[in-house]
């Protein structure tokens, strides 16, 4: 029994946090996000550090680590609201490891691990609906390969991706279509949070070769959804703790009525509640991260407990974080607003709190 991190994991966390502070501070985050969410130099550095191939076995050029390590990295990167598509890259590697054959793995994973190509994953086509039926894009047999149809309206990081793995209804059931960026029409979609770029991908009449359709079972689809929810929750842990720290520091310094506002219980008790929620979804997130590789049959429940908690709690942390600052928190210049926006983004991703609560109820026998 040991619910703590190893020294290597703590070191990794420190490294990533330091990288964010030194190489991608929040001023840089704003610039990158305003320019569409990608920075080739930083991406190359991250690739060289090995952080893009954490989940990929050493045989394919990765570090052969687990999702719990990925959680550490995503959490640490999110303390600085990292806008780079690290989570998408991780999900794409899991998708390939889960659904691809050996040839596809050897073709794709090594360049993915090194960050030489950016990958992303697009699952559902209906807003706020987690179900195989919410995948409406299609792949139909055509010649030696397939012709794709329909549109993927909500693909994370599609604008910076070189390759996209997109869920479709294929001739033999669910599948992932692997497409290159110039084969499809990608249109950026403005959202509340520009540190997490989203785009639609038009697949109509796109022809792909036979080796580019990866069959996917419903179980695999749910597994990828769970990993997605886990990734988002890990980012909510990092971003939530940064928001709490920002707000706590401000509360110690800002003086009104002759006292630091952090001395008023109306302020300090909100901060305490933020801490309670953050600690709690942090614990649930780490447990889910462990389940991903070490107890996969528990993963669905663990992820739903974590994401169900975090979605609403981080949203409240965003609101209180801005609110406790007063007017300065409402300004574009001050950083609190960026965390609030991230909490809006995270809420519906890979299932909102109602979806996850419903699943907790069902899995719990109700």
């Amino acid at each position: 029994m040991n619910f703590g991190f190893t020294e290597e994991q703590n070191l990794l966390r420190d490294q990533v946090e330091r990288f964010m502070q030194d190489s991608c501070p929040i001023t840089r985050v704003r610039e990158i996000s305003d320019a569409g969410g990608f920075d080739a130099d930083l991406w190359k550095q991250i690739g060289e550090l090995g952080w893009l191939g954490l989940l990929i076995p050493e045989a394919f050029g990765g570090l052969g680590l687990k999702w719990i390590d990925q959680v550490v990295v995503l959490e640490a990167a999110a303390t600085g609201l990292c806008p780079l598509p690290m989570a998408s890259q991780a999900l794409a590697s899991t998708a390939i490891l889960t659904c691809a054959n050996d040839d596809q793995k050897s073709n794709w994973l090594p360049q993915l691990a090194r960050g030489e190509a950016v990958y992303t994953l697009g699952l559902y086509d209906d807003a706020n609906w987690i179900d195989p039926a919410a995948i409406t894009a299609t792949a139909k047999a055509s010649g030696d390969g397939y012709v794709l149809g329909g549109k993927k309206p909500f693909v994370n990081d599609a604008g910076s991706a070189d390759y996209l793995l997109l869920a479709v209804q294929g001739p033999n059931g669910l599948a992932l279509a692997a497409v290159a960026k110039d084969e499809v029409r990608i249109t950026a979609q403005p959202t509340m949070d520009n540190t997490k770029p989203m785009a639609s991908v038009d697949l109509e009449d796109v022809q792909i070769g036979a080796d580019r359709l990866l069959p996917m079972t419903a179980g695999q689809l749910y597994h990828l959804t769970d990993c997605g929810a886990l990734a988002v929750t890990a980012e909510m842990v990092g971003a939530g703790s940064a928001m709490l720290e920002l707000t706590g520091e401000y509360a110690k310094q800002r003086v009104q009525f002759g006292k630091p506002i952090g001395q008023y219980q109306g302020v300090k008790h909100r901060l305490a509640d933020m801490y309670v929620d953050l600690e709690s979804y942090r614990s649930l997130c780490y447990f889910a991260g462990w389940c991903a590789d070490d107890d996969p049959k528990e993963l669905a429940r663990a992820v739903s407990l974590a994401k169900g908690y975090a979605s609403d709690a981080f949203n409240q942390i965003g609101i209180d974080g801005v609110g406790l600052h007063g007017a300065i928190g409402f300004t574009a210049e001050y950083d609190a607003q960026l965390f609030l926006k991230r909490s809006k983004w995270a809420r519906p991703m890979f299932g909102d709190s109602d979806f996850h609560l419903d699943r907790v109820a069902s899995l719990g026998g109700l």
């Binding site: 952090g262 901060l271 305490a272 309670v276 462990w290 070490d294 169900g308 109820a361």
Partner: protein
């Protein structure tokens, strides 16, 4: 990170389970000697004061074994391992840390053998949350302290034999934390008067206690004169980890789910109602959070890092769950849910309606939620003190 137990730990769990199988008959089959036999047997096993040093009659059990023991006992809904909950939780540890050799010899074995029940005399009518401001007076005359004053909300006072009492030996102090002295007092000492107080659930668990010229020999002082606050704080730090509690709360959650499955709302099965399902799922989420918070804190302790105020996190969860779960059950079952034990339609024998009136035990008894929030904000987040 791993959630597995070692072979020895698993063997210990097996041992506890076997013991429970052999020695804990179903409630209906327990005769009037059951409790005494049970206490004797767990004592013989070395499971009372399990983590206490062997020289004091404990087993020097490790943190994980301790957790396993609590978990299994809670799962089996076993009776307590001793009759003096407070004796085992903080009076005993306090005496082992600050007591004289004579005090250790006199008091520790009786706590372990369930011969003496202790109560805790901290709160006063005018000093509850602000405990350090207590006024109950003790004056040294020769070899005796003479105690005058009042305590209140003392749980178990009506049936306890001894009380750990916080008194003030010095009134003219720079800080209210100074001048406090801890005394160990027999409840049958002349001048001690106990008046039980009935709570809103109809029970008389706590009492007010009046002390009039009560003589307490100096050798019954715990720690040095004026060190009472230090003694109290470190004794309360021995409060039990929340692991056993979490097991009980999961059991309560299961009962709640059974209730939901057998109840109708607007004529339809309640378990089909999305609001009901999500509410129950939220309870599960919080209890699971308590579990994994607790395991993270346990890991910290095992690694030798002291816990500071993290346990307040789970206390706040526990407080809100304690109110909300019973409340939910009562509301869900409507007029039937209101009925107490004995009512023709009482739900589950009136357990929900009864415990819906008992939340202050948990919510107020161990420090109120506002105080827990102060602790988190001030000690963990560094906010200035009130």
């Amino acid at each position: 990170m791993d959630f597995d137990y070692t072979a020895e730990e698993n063997a210990f769990r097996e041992e506890v389970r076997r013991f429970i199988d052999d020695n804990l008959p179903p409630k209906k089959e327990r005769d009037k000697n059951f409790l005494a036999t049970w206490l004797e047997k767990v004592r013989a096993k070395g499971w009372v004061g399990f983590s206490w040093p062997k020289e004091f009659g404990g087993s020097a059990g490790g943190l994980i074994e301790q957790t396993i023991l609590r978990e299994e006992m809670a799962l089996a809904k076993a009776p307590p391992l001793g009759t003096s909950m407070m004796g085992l939780a903080w009076v005993g540890p306090g005496i082992m840390e600050y007591g004289t050799e004579e005090q250790k010899r006199k008091f520790i074995p009786d706590i372990l053998d369930s011969k003496v029940t202790w109560c805790t005399g901290y709160s006063e009518p005018n000093h509850g949350s602000d405990l350090a401001a207590i006024q109950c007076k003790a004056e040294l005359h020769g070899d005796n302290y003479i105690v005058n004053g009042q305590k209140i909300w003392t749980t178990g006072a009506p049936w306890s034999q001894w009380i750990i009492l916080l008194t003030r030996t010095q009134f003219d102090v720079a800080s209210k934390h100074d001048g406090i002295t801890c005394l160990l007092v027999p409840m049958d000492a002349p001048g001690v008067e106990v008046r039980p107080i009935e709570n809103m659930a109809g029970d008389k668990h706590f009492a007010e206690i009046f002390f009039t010229d009560v003589e307490v020999p100096v050798e019954h002082r715990l720690g040095a004169e004026g060190d009472g606050w230090k003694v109290t704080v470190s004794a309360l730090a021995n409060e039990r980890s929340s692991i056993g509690e979490v097991t009980q709360m999961f059991a309560k959650l299961e009962n709640l789910k059974e209730l939901v499955k057998s109840t109708k709302k607007q004529g339809k099965p309640a378990h089909e109602d999305p609001g009901v399902r999500r509410k129950v799922a939220q309870f599960e989420m919080k209890i699971a959070a308590m579990k994994y918070n607790g395991l993270r804190y346990l890991t910290k302790q095992i690694k030798g890092e002291p816990l500071s105020s993290e346990t307040s996190v789970n206390k706040l969860h526990r407080a809100s769950l304690e109110i909300e779960m019973d409340d939910f059950a009562v509301e869900l079952t409507g007029q039937a849910g209101l009925q107490l034990r004995g009512g023709e339609d009482a739900v589950d024998g009136g357990t929900w309606s009864k415990s819906a009136l008992n939340w202050p035990n948990v919510v107020i008894g161990g420090g109120t939620p506002n105080i827990q929030r102060n602790i988190i904000a001030e000690r963990l987040l560094g906010m200035p003190k009130d």
